[in-house]
């Protein structure tokens, strides 16, 4: 088999939010961009997301949150990755997230936040520019 690094990303739905249409569409866009996408399904705890990301050896975790708990959930995932010595995994997020929270989350180590209206093309472009297979 030819030697080739392929980008592996995880699309995760943390917390109690049950709306995963957006996450699925993002997953599909990543697939079409040539990434291998591990989808976790709904209602994930930060612990579950971090453990799965390590077992799957992904380069990036993308989380979707539409229910308001993003501050705690996104931040906890970043912290736990650090604890597990896995903070080389890029974390980004998307959803209905107020501007003030975006500032706070970026300070906490979330690399990018995508809000409603962002095109799929822009998201894929961002991933290609900011995430490289480790």
């Amino acid at each position: 088999m030819a030697q080739q690094r392929r980008l592996r990303v995880m699309v995760a739905k943390p917390g109690l939010d049950g709306h995963d249409r957006g996450a699925r569409i993002i997953a599909r866009a990543y697939r079409d961009a040539g990434f291998e996408v591990v989808y976790t399904g709904l209602h994930q705890t930060p612990e579950e997301i971090v453990e799965a990301a390590i077992q799957e050896d992904v380069d990036m975790i993308g989380m979707s949150s539409l229910a308001g708990a993003h501050k705690y959930l996104f931040k906890t995932v970043v912290e736990m990755l650090k604890e597990r010595d896995a903070d080389d995994i890029v974390v980004c997020g998307g959803g209905i997230i107020p501007n003030d929270d975006i500032v706070m989350l970026k300070e906490a180590g979330v690399k990018e936040i995508f809000t409603p209206g962002t095109t799929l093309d822009d998201i894929v472009k961002w991933v290609k520019a900011n995430v490289t297979p480790r």
């Binding site: 088999m1 592996r8 291998e36 989808y39 799965a52 050896d57």
Partner: protein
């Protein structure tokens, strides 16, 4: 400092995850790691689970993990999903059904994409099984993509091969009976509450009993079971059948180290040679530019592809034109 091999054998999750990535990505240095890991393999019991898309393989695997964990067995899972032939990307969604086990230290779950090209699937899945085996997992569950010839190859590395079907897929069974029926050790009719499960049972029974002569000589006769994996119905009985099959293997081969069986070795080695040759030949031809030149010559109508293939391959393997 611990070597990669020591870390794998001690069960270090990050090292194992990384190594499987390197295997998948075809990194040449993994070959030496795999050589050193080989003596640490041969202890795990490998179960292959195959069947058409949507029959409930992932849900079944999820329940199997739960049953094995109740018996304090550690479990490794390799779940394979298809790669898009157009983008090269893949959605690896088998994990969704198994995510409740992700916090369990006794379980390691890894999703893999088929990646299509050059028959690499068989080889990298086989190598990933070795890694989980060396890691010390008692059971390794390999969930294949939907039915096909390649998947038959993968499940041949398993001790027990399970074919999952659902009622009302008469055509499906017709389609798979030539290849897959022959490698199935256990047949599971999932979603058995649906209409037609008795018909499916009869169809399978008929096909299996056509091999009656084989069983008269003491061969393993594949049992057919019904289950509703999502409700954990019938899964306990199914797990018992797997144990029964393991006992039968032990009695036939005098142990469970089936990898040292001559047939297995022959097959594994020939697969390995195929993959390796292909890799070496293709990379050589690509590096020298001979491959691209041949493509150009064929498109320009200067040569036919059969002759071009001879010209490319024969010198490499040291043969002259016939």
């Amino acid at each position: 400092m611990q070597s990669i091999v020591e870390k794998v054998v001690s069960g270090d999750v990050r090292t194992v995850a990384r190594l499987i990535r390197d295997i998948d990505d075809g990194m040449p240095e993994v070959r030496n790691v795999l050589k050193e890991l080989y003596p640490h393999t041969g202890n795990a019991y490998v179960i292959g689970i195959t069947g058409a898309p949507g029959v409930g393989k992932s849900t079944l695997v999820d329940q199997m993990i739960a049953h094995l964990r109740k018996r304090d067995k550690t479990v490794g899972v390799l779940a394979v999903d298809p790669t898009s032939p157009f983008s090269g990307g893949a959605i690896l969604g088998d994990r969704v059904r198994m995510q409740r086990h992700s916090m369990d230290k006794g379980v390691f779950i890894r999703s893999m994409a088929t990646r299509g090209h050059f028959g690499g699937l068989t080889q990298s899945t086989r190598s990933a099984i070795d890694v989980l085996d060396a890691m010390g997992k008692d059971y390794i569950l390999v969930e294949t993509v939907g039915v096909g010839q390649d998947e038959v190859d993968v499940v041949r590395s398993a001790h027990t091969t399970v074919i999952v079907v659902i009622p009302g897929m008469g055509d499906g069974i017709q389609a798979i009976k030539a290849g897959i029926l022959e490698v199935g050790d256990i047949f599971l009719i999932n979603k058995a509450d649906r209409d037609g499960s008795d018909k499916t049972y009869t169809d399978l029974k008929l096909m299996i009993e056509m091999d009656q002569r084989k069983y008269d000589k003491g061969g393993w006769k594949p049992p057919i079971l019904k289950a509703q994996a999502v409700f954990d119905e019938g899964v306990a009985e199914f797990m018992e059948e797997i144990e029964r099959h393991a006992q039968s293997l032990k009695a036939t081969f005098g142990g469970l180290d089936i990898r040292k069986q001559k047939d297995m070795v022959r097959q594994e080695l020939s697969e390995m040679i195929k993959a390796r040759l292909l890799e070496e030949v293709i990379s050589k031809l690509t590096e020298t530019g001979d491959f691209d030149r041949a493509v150009q010559a064929i498109t320009a109508g200067k040569i036919d592809p059969y002759s071009a293939c001879d010209n490319l391959v024969l010198p490499i393997v040291g043969l002259s034109h016939p």
